[in-house]
């Protein structure tokens, strides 16, 4: 059983290699501006991992992931300015609070199927958008909402990661842990229950799976990842802007997760790259960043028409094909 849990697939090995690359090489090469782009990309990879796994493994559509990131970020900022806990303690609290908020928002839809969760989460995202726009994010002010005019108070970065380079490494480490966390679940009994729920809820119930419980579990994981991602994003910038967490961003994030390939780690990386790095690149080249939307649309069409497992699925198939050919050729 332990052997199965620790088994490294080719895709997993590639993922770990990429994580090592992102940990060791990228921070050393990137300039100051790109560091902050990569940090935020990393945060979104973590959030996308949450929605993507829910969609790929259970067929659940959540359209509030970016809104939940906002919740995590809000809690993170609030705790930073209100209490003297270490960064990591704040991050854990932010992730857990976000998980509970996610549960409360999605609870009405947990017993229903398919589209209802998508609709309920979309409404939740709309509600969060309004709250964030009305109250803004804490920046060291007084009272519960903690907002003041003028410049924000200082944000305490983690002890381990005071510089932007170190913070990028810190984020990469968390993202890797997030993927391993999901994968461990997938290989144990929750993953079996999820696979059956995806096949059919009736079949899952007939096999003794408490369908509502395991859906809640999955949604909880997505919430934890969103909360941690929002907390890490807050830690990178020291303050947050409500425009980042609009409902439309959640919808976009989900669509990109499908385009990237929801079943694979690479899909989340591709999705976050399209979401964060592409607009920055376009900006760099002096092209209107709205062009990104055209590219997103083309990607979505591509996914819908030719690539049910997204771009990552195509790449993985290609890699598997090459491996098969290489393996055959290599043997005498």
């Amino acid at each position: 059983m332990l052997k199965r849990l620790l088994h490294v697939t080719p895709s997993g090995a590639a993922g770990l290699a990429f994580a090592a690359f992102a940990f060791l090489v990228i921070p050393a090469l990137a300039g100051k501006l790109w560091l902050s782009v990569f940090i935020s990309t990393g945060c979104f990879v973590l959030a996308i991992a949450g929605v993507a796994f829910m969609y790929a493994r259970l067929g659940m559509v959540s359209l509030t992931q970016v809104g939940l990131m906002g919740v995590g970020g809000w809690v993170m900022l609030r705790l930073n300015h209100a209490a003297g806990f270490p960064f990591e303690v704040n991050l854990v609290i932010a992730a857990l609070v976000t998980m509970v908020c996610g549960w409360i928002l999605a609870l009405p839809a947990m017993r229903m199927r398919g589209l209802y969760l998508a609709l309920v989460t979309l409404m939740a995202a709309g509600g969060l958008e309004i709250i964030f726009a009305t109250y803004q994010f804490p920046n060291g002010g007084e009272g519960f909402w903690g907002v003041k005019t003028g410049s924000a108070d200082a944000f305490r970065r983690p002890w381990l990661a005071q510089t932007p380079e170190a913070y990028l490494r810190y984020v990469v480490a968390f993202v890797t842990l997030g993927f391993l966390f999901i994968e461990a679940h997938r290989r144990l009994w929750p993953g079996r229950a999820w696979a059956l729920i995806r096949r059919s809820e009736a079949a899952a119930m007939a096999a003794g799976v408490n369908v509502t419980f395991y859906k809640m579990w999955a949604f909880g994981i997505a919430g934890v990842l969103a909360g941690a991602a929002g907390g890490l994003l807050a830690g990178s910038l020291g303050l947050l802007d409500d425009a980042t967490f609009r409902a439309s961003e959640s919808v976009m994030l989900f669509a990109l997760a499908v385009v990237g390939g929801a079943r694979y780690w690479l899909g989340a990386v591709i999705a976050a790259t399209l979401y964060r790095i592409l607009p920055a690149l376009l900006n760099n080249w002096g092209v209107d960043a709205d062009l990104a939307f055209v590219i997103f649309g083309a990607g979505l069409l591509h996914a819908v028409i030719t690539a049910p497992n997204g771009i990552a699925g195509q790449i993985m198939d290609l890699a598997a094909g090459l491996r098969a050919r290489f393996g055959k050729g290599g043997k005498p």
Binding site: A195, R199, S200, A203, M205, G208
Partner: protein
Amino acid sequence: MIEVDKVSVRFGGVVALAEVSAVFTQPVSGIIGPNGAGKTTLMNVFSGFVSAAAGRVVCDGEDLLRLSPHRRAHWGLRRSFQKEEIANDLTVFDNVLVQTDRGFTGASARRAEVARLIELVGLADRADTFGRDLSGFERRLADVAKCMAGNPRLVMFDEPAGGLSIDETHTLGTLIKRIHAETGAQTLVIDHDVELISEICDETLVLDFGRRIAFGPTAEVLADPAVKAAYLGTEEV
């Protein structure tokens, strides 16, 4: 012993089951009837996917209808569906293991049991194959192994032989007959294949338009003029 006591089910205006009663006492019992007779609906009442307007289902002294669907599975209710439900993303082994997933204890014993059942149904060399790579018959066999896992008390099959060849049906019938000896569970089989039913079922319930039209030893039931009429009446349709 399974007691079905005046179970009625209505879907809007349609009476799917009308005060159906039967007491199944044999290791393997059959339920037959023309299309739309209410066979699957009766099974869904057992599983909890359809709630009965009236009536009771008592198995070994347990009032099944009071339990939620997944608790019925914990109690020992197993079923297969008209279209088998094998998860494509899981191996045969994991598909069967799901049925035993409860609590943290005895993992190695559960795995040994699962391996034994997979061998029993003849899929030993396919244990690590993913559901999506199985043939229709293999999926059916995996389904049988799943129904036998985790101390079942009542196993129900909904048209298990649908789409199978004669040889495959025979193999499946032999397996279903072994369930009682292997696990102690009672088995209910729905099928249109009267040959299969008369081969493996000691007693049979016949439904037509939601009513019980016959119940008793299979040979007697199949010779009943009312049953013949019900089948002849729909044969041409």
